[in-house]
């Protein structure tokens, strides 16, 4: 819901977040896409950032190949692959229950995520003065809440802070959308830190 509301208050038509919810079905990449476009960034930058975030689906596919089904069903099964379905499937022991958990969770998300986005979009378009209600604080808060669990890891937290600082420093000078991509320059920091730890 907050995703739909955020998208509409940043200037998207109501159907855009809903359509994207059905077709992409991967929350963080959709937030990233909407955020970069809303800040005035180019669609290319938004596409690249979204694809990079979704690259994690490749290892997901390596982890749960046997729950996807066969033939036509496999197409839908593949589309349902995301953070939640993979976690639910991995939590079950027997193959039969793995499959059931994966499909139940996946179909639930396929319905609830776009429906929530539509409801949020509706609410977002009714409200006129979004700044007075502080709705612009919702978007960054959602992203922060999404990544906080990962930030409990210390080397990752430091690297992420550096990445955020890099993006902030670059914001006044670079076209919108690029500062976020520039944050990836902090990636070597993480590899150096973890390698040091490994050799110690």
């Amino acid at each position: 819901m907050s995703y739909g509301a955020v998208a509409v208050t940043s200037g998207f038509a109501w159907w855009f977040p809903v359509l994207m919810g059905v077709l992409v079905l991967a929350a963080s990449s959709e937030f990233l896409f909407v955020g970069i476009i809303a800040a005035g960034g180019s669609p290319i930058a938004a596409l690249l950032a979204g694809l990079l975030v979704n690259a994690r689906h490749l290892p997901f596919g390596l982890a749960v190949p046997d729950v996807l089904g066969r033939g036509r069903r496999k197409m839908l099964g593949t589309h349902l692959m995301n953070d939640e379905t993979v976690v639910f499937a991995l939590a079950q022991d027997e193959p039969e229950r793995k499959r059931a958990a994966y499909w139940l969770c996946g179909l639930g998300i396929l319905i609830c995520w776009p429906a929530g986005a539509a409801l949020g979009a509706l609410l977002g378009s009714v409200v006129r003065d979004t700044d007075a209600l502080g709705l612009d604080a919702m978007f960054p808060a959602v992203i922060l809440a999404l990544i906080l669990p990962a930030l409990k890891d210390k080397p990752l937290r430091r690297t992420a802070l550096t990445a955020a600082a890099l993006a902030l420093t670059a914001t006044p000078f670079l076209p919108a959308g690029l500062p976020v991509l520039l944050a990836l320059a902090a990636l070597p920091l993480f590899t150096v830190r973890t390698r040091k730890k490994a050799t110690r």
């Binding site: 669609p43 992420a160 914001t171």
Partner: protein
């Protein structure tokens, strides 16, 4: 966030490309498994880059607007939400508290 209108056709095209690309990424995992396995290190790096991109997006969207610092009201609201998220408050509470804090600050005259 920004007052400029969003150009629909290129944005829609990019979104469709993202959908197609994401599907291919989902498809390639099971297909690759037959041939080789991705090293654990590469997997970790993919995960880390996703967090870095999102951290940068959270920071820039919390603190900047049109290439300049936004007033303190928005970042303070996000901070309030962040503290609650750290203490494992439910998602909805986090989002509502962030918006409410910013709204109250603005009501009090903070930009």
């Amino acid at each position: 966030m920004s007052d400029t209108a969003i150009p629909i056709p290129p944005t829609l095209a990019a979104m469709l490309a993202l959908a197609a690309g994401t599907f291919l990424l989902r498809l390639s995992g099971p297909a690759l498994r037959a041939r080789c396995t991705l090293p654990e290190r590469a997997e970790k790096l993919l995960e880390v880059s996703a967090v870095l991109l999102l951290a940068a997006l959270a920071a820039t969207s919390a603190l900047t607007e049109d290439h300049a610092f936004t007033g303190p009201a928005r970042p303070l609201g996000v901070l309030a939400g962040g503290v609650l998220a750290w203490r494992r408050a439910p998602f909805l509470v986090v989002v509502l508290v962030a918006a409410a804090t910013t709204a109250l600050l603005r009501l009090a005259g903070v930009p």
